[in-house]
Amino acid sequence: MDIITMIIAALFSQNFVLVQFLGICPFLGVSKKIDSALGMGIAVTAVMVLTCLVTYPIYAYVLIPLKIQYLYILVFILVIASLVQMLEMFLKKFSPGLYSSLGIYLPLVTTNCAILGIAKTVTATVSEGAIVSMAFSLGGAVLSGLLYGLGFTLAIVLLAGLRSKVDKLNIAKPLRGFPITLITACFMAMAFYVFTLVA
């Protein structure tokens, strides 16, 4: 598939949040303000890229040859937790400014469905007869991580933008908080649906 289709798919028609329902918790929880949304989006994208970079070789060169693919949940989640921990320590030491603005979101990223979701997506396999091979190349995997992360960022920042407008309106009491956020997301999903018809 060419790069344009990949971009449209990752950002719109197969958007992790609005189409595949991955990463909803932070999407709903951290979208009150645009800066925090952007921060979360960047953190998620960074972790996604790192995750693809690490889990792909582990799955391809360790789990598949040893035929222990059933351990993937255990291995992936440990890798993700470690990566997030290391990223946090790295930022703390080398970029304290970035750490202070992103730092609070990093631990939350570990339990973000989207990270495990992208790890599972890029380690997809294609079987030809009895031979199992990876559907993506390492470069393609990392690129997918980047693009899907950007798709997540796009969705969460858009929602933050909408919420900042919506929260100023006078909403009926029972709808305040999550309900109105979800209804706003509903309209976003409708808009993104158009892209599934295109690509």
Partner: protein
């Protein structure tokens, strides 16, 4: 004191984690052994669900000639049933390199009876498919139907790639049934059979390539179909064969039960032809020299249509996926006992959107000046060839054929 305490504590901490990991890993290994679902079990389960009448009729070895198709996917296994039906385990490629494996039940009457998903790899939206919704897709259709899942509504919105993969798996199963099992209407197989009948016993053991349906090509200009067609005959199929009597090329015109067939040898001499093959047709077919090569599993042709003392007109033609043709004029002269390319100019470039630009195409051609048969393969550097692999391959194929022809003429004429 504190240092050794810290060390002890660290060791204790890490070892707890490690022990837990090891125990869990061992537990999972045991569970995996106990709960492993074998292929045979998956098959039985699927048959219970979609085709309870299945009774195994022995083994069937998958025909390697039709085991995979770059457009659709590949066949993992075929299970014949005593009632004449076949269960095809077909893998379909999705738009995004994820695959879906289906069991497709095709009856002896070439109708799709039922299908189900065996497993999917890399498609996250399978949860949107409830058995109910897709059970009716494709069922009852004849396998030679040209399925277009979009127009027939065989897809669920937002799962384009999975639906595409399913469509491809069904097409793959159909392709195999038509070509390897001989089910249903199979005009390509008929063309081959008719040709073999014409050639007689001497050629019965020949290895034949899959027939290429030239008239189905999209790109009409300078396509092989137009090169060999006459006013009365448009070529239907072309295929090659190798065997004890040398290489052959078969050109099949017309329709079932009324074919016009011309078979030539590798040197362009007529080996066999049907009575209704006119002299004009034979002349056209034998006029040029055709070389078929496969580059990266894609069939490509070089067709030398003219050679006036070292000035060749040659076409590099690709007939599959995105058909494309380059027609070049190549001048070759002799140096050190072998042919060397003096100049290349592109007559037509068969430009299609998404192909390399005019500049890059010219570069592809001009960088081959000075090449010989021995050196031509190493000429393209990454810079020139990036984004233009197909075009590069086509141009190289054409020039290689020219050089080979020149060299063999040299060898023959001393």
């Amino acid at each position: 004191m504190t240092k050794s305490n810290f060390f002890l504590e660290a060791v204790q901490t890490i070892s707890v984690l490690v022990i837990i990991c090891l125990v869990c890993g061992a537990l999972l290994a045991v569970c995996n052994q106990l709960l492993y679902v074998s292929d045979a079990e998956k098959f039985d389960r699927a048959m219970q669900k979609i085709y309870p009448d299945f009774v195994s009729d022995g083994d069937h070895k998958v025909d390697p000639a039709f085991q995979s198709n770059s457009m659709y996917g590949n066949i993992k296994a075929v299970y014949p049933s005593k009632d004449g039906a076949y269960v095809i385990e077909a893998v379909g490629i999705g738009g995004y390199k994820g695959t879906v494996t289906l069991y497709v039940v095709v009856g002896g009457d070439a109708i799709i009876k039922a299908w189900t998903i065996k497993e999917s790899q890399g498609e996250t939206l399978l949860s949107n498919f409830s058995d109910k919704q897709y059970k009716s897709w494709y069922v009852g259709k004849e396998i030679s139907t040209d399925f277009d899942y979009k127009t027939e509504n065989f897809y669920i919105a937002g799962t384009t790639m999975t639906s595409n993969a399913i469509a491809n798996a069904v097409k793959m199963a159909s392709y195999y049934c038509m070509n390897a099992l001989g089910l249903g209407e199979n005009p390509e197989l008929e063309a081959k059979t008719a040709t073999l009948a014409l050639l007689g016993d001497a050629y019965s053991a020949y290895e034949l390539s899959a027939p290429i349906a030239l008239t189905a090509m999209v790109d009409a200009s300078n396509s092989l179909a137009s090169v060999w067609s006459t006013a009365d005959n448009s070529i239907a199929y072309y295929f090659t064969g190798t065997g004890d009597n040398g290489d052959i090329q078969a050109f099949v015109y017309g329709e079932k039960d009324n074919y016009t067939i011309v078979v030539t040898s590798g040197n362009g001499e007529v080996v066999a032809k049907t009575d209704n093959a006119s002299d004009d047709l034979v002349a056209k077919v034998t006029a040029g020299k055709l070389v078929q090569v496969a580059v990266n599993n894609k069939a490509m042709f070089a067709y030398i249509s003219a050679n006036e003392q070292g000035v060749y007109t040659v076409a590099g033609i690709k007939t599959t996926e995105l058909p494309k043709t380059y027609v070049l004029t190549v001048t070759v002269s002799e140096a050190n006992g072998a042919g060397v390319v003096d100049s290349i100019s592109i007559v037509t470039s068969g430009y299609i959107p998404g192909g390399p630009s005019q500049d890059n195409t010219d570069k592809l051609a001009t960088s081959l000046v000075g090449a010989t048969s021995a050196t031509i393969d190493g000429i393209y550097t990454g810079e020139v060839a990036s984004g233009a692999t197909q075009s590069g391959n086509l141009i190289t194929t054409a020039v290689k054929a020219v050089l080979a022809d020149f060299d063999s003429n040299l060898a023959n004429n001393g």
